[in-house]
Assembly symmetry: none
Homo-oligomer: 208 residues x 4
DNA sequence: CATGAATGAGGTTTCATTCAT
DNA sequence: GATGAATGAAACCTCATTCAT
């Protein structure tokens, strides 16, 4: 007797309140962390009664789950578009990373929650892994195209390259989040892409 | 600084029980996450009474704090040694990363807790930042030496490079943790270092 | 008497919806028990909105109260008729018990609710006692008539006899309800009446 | 991961507090009914903190369950003894019923809870049925012995007889409970047994 | 030092009831 | 009359922490 989907208003074109609660929750989660946030705080921030939350979400966990779902879809279509807008691999990579940084800069609460809660495993593991995979696949496509174009090295260890890129971008965002979002994140994109492409070694260096 | 030194036995060269509890806690945190772990579980795992925990730790948070302190110091001296063991920048970098991966592979519980709980901000933020800073500084030193040696590009945006390296290593560890530690993590070190040094672009590529 | 007549439509010859809700409620109560039933479930079963219930009933308790009132009146007139249809005490008793079992068999939901919720005391105590009294009085009349007719022993402890009969019938119904109504309840009537009249002792037995 | 038997102190020879809580709970249940009773009320009545309840009982339901278990065992051994103390069926029956009434009179809270909550089905159904069965079996034994002795009629419909007796006794207790326990319940035993044995019909009556 | 029973604040969640539409 | 989204009181239960032994 799970009291879920049939009781909860997921349809209704994501009614006004659904989004109000979701945004409020993300704000509170960003400020306090998921575990230290209380449903009451979220309700107050959203300007609704505690019980109202449960008309739109199955439970507290479900709020975070819905967020991953909702923001993810939204952000991912942006990523995809950004990649499509360019016609060579390097520009695709640059566009992807610019877009990534731009979107996270645009909504810092989202960024904080993504960066902080996504590493928690347990209940959200499945979602996070899926999310991560989508991103890695996107990078994978771009790199493979780059290899075909001759713009990227053929002998790359692809699955490592993907993590190498995601990890670096992630850390750049983390740092920005930790710093309170006090500087322009997007401006990191181009230098970062250069590092990806050229590495840090001096020209023609033999490394192994 | 911490208002507890008088009650809690931090001296005594870290008695047997102190470490037993700490290791037990890390095991439990790794399995359940910090918030879902209970003091009782830790006590049971350590084979002591619940109350005993409070003879060695101020409270639940303090356990995690002590862990960051304890493991950090231990691991950091290893990192420092690894760097010192080489006499050129590239080898220092390679040694650092090998050591990092080796240590995290050696103690997977530690790895899980580090990777998961360190991103939570709030109560542990200060510690984590400090930790992160130590690592970044170490990388910074190596890179600067590399620039002097001529082994690394002079025009690098140093603070970005540091995050670029930390982030990538971190993500490689995360992936390994998510996969249940099922493959050899250390073998990622050399390919990773190559990516840092040469990037993913084909030789002589102009990137901007 | 009830402080609500002005708000609630008790007049109007019990509109269609009133009965729909009442029957729905009894069904739900029978399935889940009064306390575990929610007003929403009742509304859904009745095919009306939650709020509509409050146009016909003062509150959740009132639904059960109205049920006791409504079914009681209805069933009691049947009992009275059954008794009247016979012209000697033994047949009256037999008719009463047959009727009782028949009516409860006819509407198992009613039976379940009657048997289960009537023993709860507290809020419904008054109603239940009244109900019980009506039944006991009916039995009393029959037995007294039997005594006058010479068909029943003169020295009976009347108030005990009444409970003795009611209790036995009740338990027979309980058992049938517990068994899921899987056998014919009415067929218990005649053997039961024989037990009332002859007891279980062998003929001519001296019992004290 | 049901947090039950391993966490809860069922051993310890039913420690002092276990019984204090149980008796307090029964008192509160008797006064308010199970559903209207709150854990806080029980805790206050027992003179312990709310949380303490959960050291001894898995949850609120478990309190009632434990009660059925505990009192049942206790009371049933009394019933069995009472039956054994006589050496003919009629006396066994009389002893059983006297004992039943005596025990319920002795502890009115128990009586109230037994009579009221035992009819609720749902969560406690299994227990109640078991309980009921034990009692019915005991009666069954006695009646069968009576038949062998020639003290009871051979042609009896045994399963009906059992319910007939249990029901009547039950109702006598209910009435006494409803009346606030204001009269002597045990004095009902002998007249009741006479009704069982001789019925209410006049001597030699043909009933069918 | 060590214990673990006891505490009680505080969180999540349910659901009877209301009221603007 | 009818609706059903919204309310918020109140219940159950957990668990970090204390303290008498």
């Amino acid at each position: 007797m799970t009291a879920s989907a049939d009781k909860i208003n997921y349809s209704k074109a994501k009614s006004d309140k659904y989004h109000r609660i979701l945004e409020a929750a993300i704000k509170v989660f960003a400020e306090q962390g998921f575990f230290h946030s209380t449903v009451s705080q979220i309700a107050k921030e959203a300007g609704v009664a505690d019980g109202t939350i449960y008309l739109y979400f199955k439970n507290k966990d479900d709020i975070l789950l819905q967020f991953f779902n909702y923001k993810t879809k939204q952000v991912f279509s942006q990523f995809r578009e950004a990649v499509n807008r360019a016609d060579n691999a390097k520009d695709k990579l640059r566009n992807l990373i610019r877009c990534h940084l731009r979107e996270f800069q645009r909504d810092r609460n989202m960024a904080v929650v993504f960066q902080a809660e996504a590493r928690q495993g347990r209940q959200f593991e499945k979602y996070i892994k899926e999310l991560s995979k989508m991103y890695l696949d996107l990078i994978g496509e771009v790199v493979e195209m780059g290899q075909e174009e001759g713009a990227m090295r053929k002998e790359l260890y692809l699955s490592l390259v993907k993590r190498f890129i995601l990890g670096a971008v992630d850390e750049v965002i983390n740092t920005w989040v930790s710093a309170g979002g006090s500087y322009d994140l997007v401006s990191m994109a181009d230098p970062l892409v250069e590092l990806f492409l050229r590495g840090i070694g001096s020209n023609g260096s033999r490394t192994v």
